[in-house]
């Protein structure tokens, strides 16, 4: 299967991070060690390709932690086969337990 987005190591890392539950930009940066200048454009491209969807956090939840609501990203069902391709191409990514 040809993925709808160019599969690079960084893309595979971000997909893996999302799969492991890292849901917002800075969290993915911290988990993967990638630069913010890499992570955010990737998130945009993944969203345009229909592999990822974003949503805003509930205001009440953010208020509890006394901060503004974040934008969360999560994998769409269409990303599952793409993630498999990523893991097959970059087996090291699959083996990584990303930082928390």
């Amino acid at each position: 299967m040809k993925p709808p987005i160019r599969m690079t190591y960084a893309t595979a890392l971000v997909l893996e991070a999302l799969e492991q539950g890292h849901a917002y930009g800075f969290d993915i940066i911290d988990a993967t060690g990638l630069r913010s200048g890499t992570v955010y454009p990737l998130l945009r491209r993944l969203e345009e390709a229909g592999l990822v969807r974003s949503r805003w956090e509930r205001v009440a939840d953010a208020r509890r932690e006394r901060r503004p609501p974040r934008k969360y990203y999560e994998l769409r069902p269409a990303a599952a086969p793409v993630l498999e391709v990523a893991r097959a191409r970059f087996p090291a990514v699959a083996a990584i337990e990303l930082a928390r």
Binding site: G25, F26, Y40, R44, P68, P69
Partner: protein, 875 residues
Amino acid sequence: MMPKTTRQRDSHRVVERLLAVISRLVPRALRAEWLREWTAEFRGGGNGGMRFSSGRLTGAVEDAARIRSRTLRREVMIMQDIKQALSRWRRQPLFALVVVAILALGLGANTAVFALVDATMIRPLPFRDGEELVHFWQLIFDGDSLINFSHPTFVDVGARSRTMAGVAAYHSPSMTWTRNDEARIVETVRVSPNFFTLLGVEPMLGRNFRAGDDQLSADRVVIVGHGFWSTELGADPDVIGGTLVLDGTPYAVVGVLPQDFVFPRERRAEVWRPLIPSEREATMRGSRWMHIIGRLAEGANITQAQGEMDRIATDMAREWPEANAGYGLRLIAMRDQVVGDTGPAVTAVYGAVLLVLMITCANLAHLMLARVTGRRSEIAVRNALGATRGQLVRHVLVEVLLLFVIGGMAGTLFASWLLDAVVSLIPTDAMLQAPYLGELAVSGRVVAYGLTMALVCGAVFGLIPALRVATSKGGPASMSTRTAIPRAGARLLVASQVAVAVTLLASTLLLVRSTLELLEVDPGFDTENLMTLRISLSGTAYDEGARIVAFNRELTERVAALPGVTGAAAVDRIPLSGNLVTTGLATPAMPSDGDRVRTNRHVITPDYFDVMGMRLVTGRGLRATDTADSRPVTVINEMLASALFGDASPLERAVVAGGALTLEVVGVVADVKVHTIDEPASAALYIHTAQFPSRSTGLVVRTRDDPGVLVNAVREQVTAIDPALDIYEVSSMREMIDASPAMLTRTIPAALLSGFAAFATLLVGLGLFAVVAHDVAARTREIGIRRAIGALSASVVRDVTAGTMAVVALGMIVGAAAAVASARLLQSILFGVGAADPLALAATAAVVLVVAALACVVPVRRAVNVDPTEALRTE
């Protein structure tokens, strides 16, 4: 989320300012969301803490710059797509011209009909809170006839109603305006003093009418319309206080109405004056001559108001049974009153034009699909050079949308021309009957509709060729002619086009047949070479009945003596003019509070029946010896005779009109249509002008040739008797019938639908041609092989056309069912034909089959002439 320390507060401020500056890189549409996301990230430390680093700030800059460049790149690429499309059209102008022309016709017709929908159903009435306005009518007997009001009833309704904020009355007699010894008829409207206030209209000069202006002792005043003030009074700003002499009485001008004011039911009104009822008008409950309008009270709706009117009608019938028993009150929203019964016709025409637009777009999508397939090599090269599927889809879609937008703009111009052409064809009298026709225009709302439809249709139908590029297996390079246009899809498209064309054709033929049936209707009198006109016997000179009788006698004698005239007679109301007087008729034996026969009353001179060509069934007509001193007599029609007397002879029997007037029946005439040409004849009573003189005077003149050439000669005879008089509403009977609402509600939709049906049929022909031609092209090798092994031409023809004719047959069956269903919607305007008229359906089928056969001629000939050797070599 208050920061704990001042330092934290300052940090927040700095970060927010930095992000605000960086966000300027992001396109405005995305900026707010981008800023919110990054702010939340930087301030995501919780409890007011920050997660700031210079690296992440740099990342924000990169992210913003990347979003900007992608947006810019998209915009630049869209501009490039547009330039390339224009360049392709310059090289192949015919394709673009054909597509734009077809779109202009389809979108333009759609836009023009929407203008009609806008004028009749959407545009607000030109009054303050127009939706609160209602028109009153009195219902009689079985509840089908709506008639006017008497003045006492108007006063009662106004006094008793709680659901009305106010009621006003109007009545429109013509008057003679005399200036410098010259006389002309002016259209005046008598109105209650609160009429303009009720509508929310204030004069632009002078004052409004006020309470007291309607008293017999009040000074005579008028408010003039803007058009009259401009053309007849020189737009004199000092006109207030000037005088108009109407019917010999001076009226002071107290106001001038605004330029944009028009009361739709009195579009011809030039001068407005207070309705000052005479003693007779103020007391006669049975004399119904005026109209009433009202404005709903705050919080009331028309249903509540109708309920109240039903109660008021019941009370009035109990209090004044002779005048009000059997009468109800009906309210109609002013919009519905103005638009009338056009709803079904307008909806039908809009539905038709929408269908035409859909098949136009489907046809064009098919055409563009073929064009995209023809460009497959170019598209493959683009793909190889790195263009993604999304970019290729956008590339195709941009060209399609551009065509649709240009087609939409051209369509708007076409719509404007089409509306002007349609309005210019509508007779003036019809324009007065249907005032909304004067409002037809391509307004801002109509233009917005047209362009929106262009964009929506372009987006929807443009997806067909665009998605072909996106979904071809193996990529755009693999598109081949064989798989480029799915056969099933193309055939379904053609079948649906055939169905739509059949529906339109059949509906058109039904309307055309209705029109032809109407033209064949015999109204009961001879309509050829018959001039009709009206004369306003205004002024005090005609207060005496004897003067009116003398005028009628002298005029009919003078006109009958004119060369080219075979007869002339006077009648108070011209038949089929929509202007009638009705009265309740009974015999002396019937109970005084019982049912009466609703009868049209005509006041005539003795020659009337001869001039009109009406047949005398029994007895005699009215004679010169029937005078004011002899016993009152009448001639009734067959319908009235049957209703009152059954099979017994009505001759020398008495009838009672209006509960008060006893007449002896001296003759019976055949029934004639006097109301409208598409309704049955009704009961009629004819009385002698010498016995019952009427100031409302009309003349019917039978001529040997075209009555139009004698108009001036007739006018001269009128002015020879009285220079202060003039004639108006001059028309031949034939013109009057052709311009009547009964005809126009059929002829106009028929004309429009026939245009749409012709266009739809043409598109069907083009669509069929494309499908068959493509089939032949795709099967050239197969046909070549079959010819090589000895297949006959007939066999090839059968094979090539079988599938297509099956599609046509399917479309015809579906279309016939849809035609019958849609004809039921048109039922109210069909005349003399049923919804499933076999002749209309058969003619439709014949037309479609002929078009289908013609569409197949060229491709079939090509198939028959396939050279087997060439076919096999080429493939």
